[in-house]
Amino acid sequence: DTAVSQTPKYLVTQMGNDKSIKCEQNLGHDTMYWYKQDSKKFLKIMFSYNNKELIINETVPNRFSPKSPDKAHLNLHINSLELGDSAVYFCASSQDQSGANVLTFGAGSRLTVL
């Protein structure tokens, strides 16, 4: 059983389209995250939810909207896609939001905007 699963794994789309990435974790964790990894491998946090509540919202264009229907799911919707949105998006989860938590990452969703 995959602990943190994201779909789709690959996404190729045209500029201006809207797309969603879904994430689910079966670890019973309270906290979930979205990270963006650019072509230089830099990992940047975008959002974090703890038990369905938004706790971290980095400087991300408001074209990006996360949604957490329950603590096991965190989805990412992106409107009006731009070329610069091309990246690998990783979902992750941790036991809770406390200082010692360890991240478990999903396999990633590679988004290519043409």
Partner: protein
């Protein structure tokens, strides 16, 4: 805001050589974590260091946390081709009950057989 700098960005070694990556934070950290990402894969947790001056070993990997809790290093002895990948440090600022983990830029390790 907090910054975590990691050097070198790239390292090419011959199999059997040693490798070290260094991580420096602009602020004091409560703990530091290390992750490894294989090519085409996702980051996987390796270890967490919490105490000032702490040293931990995992087989050929040695992790250190600086006395001031602002820097850390990962040393691999006698690299193998299975060590290839990107190594990330990630730190959390001291004094936060929770806080986002700030990742270093990563060190991409290539091991030539």
């Amino acid at each position: 805001g907090q910054q975590v700098m990691q050097i070198p960005q790239y390292q090419h070694v011959q199999e059997g050589e040693d490798f070290t990556t260094y991580c420096n934070s602009s602020t004091t950290l409560s703990n530091i974590q290390w992750y490894k990402q294989r090519p085409g894969g996702h980051p996987v947790f390796l270890i967490q260091l919490v105490k000032s001056g702490e040293v931990k070993k995992q087989k050929r990997l040695t992790f250190q946390f600086g006395e001031a809790k602002k820097n850390s290093s990962l040393h691999i002895t006698a690299t193998q081709t299975t060590d290839v990948g990107t190594y990330f440090c990630a730190g959390r600022p001291l004094g936060t009950s929770y806080g986002k983990l700030t990742f270093g830029q990563g060190t991409i390790l290539t091991v030539h057989p």
